[in-house]
């Protein structure tokens, strides 16, 4: 946001952004045009142009918007910083039960996939968003390791990449199949793998790793 906006200006900008994010999530970035967005948000062409002079500026703002929402969701108390297995199970259950996961995919990942090959200069924003997302998982796993909940053999960064990849890939496959199973399977298996590193007195005795 290069300029300081009034409260009213800020509210208008936010309203446009909400509708743009929703249209793009549902129809894709290429099928979303100014006319639809003006109607949905109830703004004039000159208002739209004032806040988002180019499609690139709009897409950048939608990336930031979706990234903020995804990161805030993952940082919410609900998941307790992902410092135990239950948090990961809860996270998987949420997405498996969220019907838009297999209708429209991941709000950030599906947008990224659509535009990663285009000339839009949005690469750094996407990379930063996914880095932060993966770091939430990695930090949680590192904390679990420090607490002795998972073995020091676990590689938190590698497991974080598996979890986020399973989510992104599973979301794509679920969209294609119009069925949640690929996402459900991928998340469950990825978390089951993390579970193999869980340390307990009983397992320590029989540890085969």
């Amino acid at each position: 946001m290069p300029r300081k906006l009034t409260d009213k200006g800020q509210a208008t900008r936010t309203r446009i952004l909400e509708h743009a994010a929703e249209l793009i999530y549902t129809k894709g970035v290429h099928a979303t045009n100014n006319e639809q967005l003006r109607r949905a948000a109830g703004v004039s062409g000159s208002q739209l142009n004032h806040y988002f002079p180019t499609k690139e500026s709009l897409v950048l703002a939608v990336i930031a918007w979706q990234a903020d929402r995804v990161l805030a969701f993952h940082r919410s108390e609900r998941f307790a910083s992902f410092n135990d297995l239950d948090a990961f199970r809860e996270w998987a259950d949420f997405y498996v039960g969220y019907e838009r996961a297999y209708q429209e995919g991941c709000s950030l990942g599906s947008l990224a996939s659509e535009i990663i090959k285009t000339d839009l200069d949005v690469h750094d924003e996407l990379a930063s968003a996914f880095d932060q997302w993966r770091d939430i998982f990695r930090d949680g796993l590192q904390h679990m390791q420090q607490l002795g909940r998972i073995s020091t053999d676990a590689d938190p960064a590698q497991l974080a990449n598996l979890l986020l990849s399973a989510f992104q890939g599973g979301s794509l496959l679920a969209q294609v199949a119009r069925d949640i199973t690929p996402l459900k399977d991928a998340l469950q298996a990825a978390i089951d793998y993390v579970q193999t590193f869980v340390r307990s007195p009983e397992i320590d005795v029989l540890q085969v790793r």
Copy 2:
């Protein structure tokens, strides 16, 4: 292919298709236009229109083309029907060493992601291609199970969904990061998880699953 083509017609159609697949893989489906394709393939507008009267017909043919290549690659002798862990390691190594994996992503998955939200009527073709791909992994894992190489506790369909999801998601994250690490991590972790099901006399004794 609704009509029977002459050998020359078939060759022209194949040449157009090869160039369309390459352009779409590099630039994305939305940025690929008839003008670029005509130049790349060295055909006239009427020739292009003769073989592919609509963008949908071209995209459908490119999906079939990429699916054939991906499936043939996975069914090649190199991977021995994925009936042991080494085949999965070999498969991961191939993609981790293939620099286009993090430049352009998966040839089929990146195309699917780009068009899954559009009105193009290509859904069944995509679903069929990914089903067949996943079944190659599932069948290999089932065979490993029948041979006693992995435990009966393993769920081949679930593991197949993990492997394909890790590949698709890891490819997207690698593209975004412009770094192969997310894909490398995801594939290695997914295969390491399959490895936890490998049966050996030594592990049987200590089996904790």
